[in-house]
């Protein structure tokens, strides 16, 4: 076999049956993550056919999407905290997991959190694994050199029943990011710039591999932010080659390999990076050193500009509709637009380093009058760490709300929503119409930009709020 890319190595390692011109490959799945919103019908399918879960030991469940972000002390309280339909999803998940022997990190677990935050945190997300979940941001786990992608609910049932998926081999796209980021410019700005460059459909049918000096310099938290939004470019998955940073991050995590297994795993992981001379179907180069903080102005993540640049003009009816929805005019910058809500959280930016970024801006400052700022940690473990560092005090002293972990205002399923016509600067990943609430207007940005905007009461340039 010739020179192989990271993706090809992981793909080839999991082939139960090779693809033919007639049939897709049967791909083995190492880790199946599930949550309460996209799994119930999959469990119905299993029940209707009398099927068992093939590998409950390779399946891990949590509660995140429709869970309240206020403490749930007893399940009885649920109906008071969220709509009864959301409470039902949660109860059904708890029942199904108990019945089928699936480990659930529920309200009683201090390991609960957003599904894409806890996998890495527990060390069960590892290089070279195939990881799936009924959620498109499963691409997050690719930051470790795993092949990780979102699947539909019928596929969730398929994996539960067989631990396999039927897949056509995707194409490959290398995104080479070179150079050093300037102060105030973060991983979130890098991925927004990439999506702006290739477009929301630009990665369709491809697995992206992010490479280059700017990527190698990122921490694991930052790499996850980048891979997380691969789906916003339409890509099947995003991957980053494992290196010392990856291995150091995983070392000693509760579900990472231990002892002799650790040694052999590391040896295998070291061989995963792309071989010299491996070919990609497409390549794109990005210069990280010239990037500015980025903000979206429209209703998809590809509609993005440097914060101090004017909103561009577009020709299509869709573009005009998008600007009208946002109440934005071409030719004017997003900078300075009044803000109603600021959301710091989601699987894109709710890890400890994101919270530290936000706290750096909030420290000694106040959330502007009339702005609601919500800070939602990605997991209960992050919540604890942040509190140990006193970040919660910084947020609360500034006048921001500090919550339990969950998806929260990223998709507004648990009651945390943005009002009609309100502008929300959000560290999440989707600015789709109505995503954060009916008529809600979302501006995607980094935690630094979001925090700066909360303080300014307007879309603000974080570079003016950095200290020292």
């Amino acid at each position: 076999m010739g020179a192989q890319s990271l993706f090809e190595k992981v793909w080839n390692d999991h082939i139960v049956a090779a693809e033919t011109s007639e049939t897709p490959a049967v791909l083995y799945i190492d880790l199946h993550l599930t949550h309460e919103v996209t799994s119930p019908e999959a469990f119905n399918v299993l029940a209707a056919r009398g099927l068992a879960v093939r590998r409950p030991d390779l399946t891990l469940a949590t509660l995140d999407h429709s869970t309240p972000t206020v403490p749930v002390k007893t399940l009885k309280e649920l109906d008071l905290l969220v709509e009864s339909s959301a409470a039902t999803q949660i109860r059904v998940m708890i029942e199904n997991c108990a019945k089928l022997g699936i480990r659930l990190l529920g309200f009683d677990s201090d390991q609960r959190g957003i599904v894409h935050v806890i996998g890495p945190e527990l060390g069960i997300t590892q290089p070279g694994k195939t990881i799936v979940c009924g959620d498109s941001h499963t691409s997050t786990h690719g930051a470790f050199g795993a092949l990780a992608f979102g699947i539909g609910t019928t596929e969730v049932a398929h994996v539960l029943a067989s631990q396999c998926l039927l897949q056509r081999k995707p194409k490959t796209l290398a995104v080479n990011v070179q150079g050093r980021l300037q102060p105030g410019v973060t991983a979130k700005d890098v991925i927004l710039a990439i999506i702006g460059r290739i477009g929301v459909g630009g990665g369709t049918g491809h697995v992206i591999e992010y490479r280059g000096s700017a990527i190698s310099a990122l921490s694991m938290d930052e790499r996850m932010t980048v891979c997380n939004m691969s789906i916003e470019a339409g890509a099947r998955a995003g991957m980053i080659a494992p290196d010392d940073t990856t291995i150091q991050y995983l070392s000693g995590r509760p579900l990472a390999p231990q002892g002799r297994d650790w040694e052999s795993a590391v040896r295998r992981w070291r061989a995963l990076p792309c071989d010299a001379g491996a070919r990609f179907d497409r390549e794109v180069d990005v210069d990280a050193s010239v990037l500015a903080p980025m903000v979206t102005f429209g209703t998809n993540p590809g509609m993005v500009v440097p914060i101090d640049q004017p909103v561009p003009a577009g020709e299509t009816a869709s573009f005009a509709k998008s600007l009208a929805y946002m109440g934005v005019e071409a030719g004017k910058p997003m900078l300075g637009r009044p803000v109603d809500v600021v959301f710091i959280g989601s699987c894109t930016n709710s890890r400890l380093s994101d919270l530290r970024d936000a706290a750096q801006v909030f420290r000694g400052r106040k959330v502007s009058a009339g702005v609601r700022a919500l800070v939602v940690p990605g997991s209960q473990a992050i919540k604890k760490q942040a509190e140990a560092e006193g970040l919660d005090q910084v947020f609360m002293a500034a006048g921001a709300e500090w919550r339990e972990s969950g998806c929260s205002m990223c998709l507004g399923m648990n009651g945390d929503t943005v009002g009609r016509g309100q502008l929300c600067v959000s560290t999440s990943n989707r600015n789709f119409e109505g995503r954060q609430g009916v008529g809600a207007r979302t501006v995607l940005a980094s935690p630094l930009t979001a925090a700066a905007s909360a303080v300014a009461g307007r879309v603000a340039d974080p570079r003016q709020y950095l200290r020292g």
Partner: protein
């Protein structure tokens, strides 16, 4: 799953680009624990005048005259991008959609269509627009045909366009096959893989 062979039906144009699955069904409409009862929430933000309400917006295409009976959707580039929610395919299917013609689809949504008896037909944008223009002149009479046996779309004026669909996807739709049942037949191969793999990567198996 029901079989799809050929369908001649009213087609509804919804030609915006990048229509995401949050638009097809907003998350507030999917707090269900099964795949039924979702048609009501289809395109809720556009179809109804008030959020969560059910008063129809008369301007939205699926609320207009003959389009209420549409079984084919004419869509723009990157239709069904975004969230993996299969609820989008379930809602479309329950509402009555059986085929979608678009220049391109979000990957996960595409697969979800195939697994739910909706034919995702990729044809170029100019062609979708041309068909839409013919349909709009008289949606009731100017019907569109999707023939999966011949991989052929026939426009109201009789002009035809071929489309490609992966053989396994096509067969699944034609025969109404079920992927889970198909994979179950490969149990021996899966077991053999697991045995081999456990030797190579023992740490994967707790």
């Amino acid at each position: 799953m029901e079989k799809f062979t050929t369908l001649t039906a009213i087609a509804a144009p919804l030609l915006m680009i990048n229509v995401d699955t949050d638009a097809i069904i907003p998350s507030r409409e999917m707090k269900k624990v099964s795949k039924t009862g979702l048609a009501d929430g289809l395109f809720a933000a556009w179809r109804y005048t008030t959020p969560g309400g059910r008063e129809e917006n008369p301007d939205f295409v699926l609320n207009r005259g003959p389009y209420r009976q549409a079984k084919i959707l004419l869509a723009g580039l990157n239709f069904g991008c975004g969230s993996s929610r299969e609820h989008a395919a379930w809602a479309l299917h329950e509402w009555g959609v059986r085929a979608i013609l678009a220049p391109g689809f979000g990957n996960i949504f595409y697969g979800n269509c195939v697994r739910n008896g909706i034919v995702p037909v990729v044809i170029d944008n100019a062609r979708v627009e041309a068909i839409a223009a013919q349909v709009e002149r008289d949606p009731e009479r100017n019907r569109v045909t999707v023939d999966l046996r011949q991989n052929l779309v026939t426009a109201p004026d009789g002009s035809t366009t071929t489309f490609a669909l992966a053989p396994a996807d096509r067969e699944m739709l034609l025969e109404g096959l079920d992927a889970i049942a198909m994979t179950q037949k490969r149990d021996a191969e899966i077991l053999a893989f697991q045995a081999r793999d456990r030797e190579r990567r023992p740490w994967i198996y707790p």
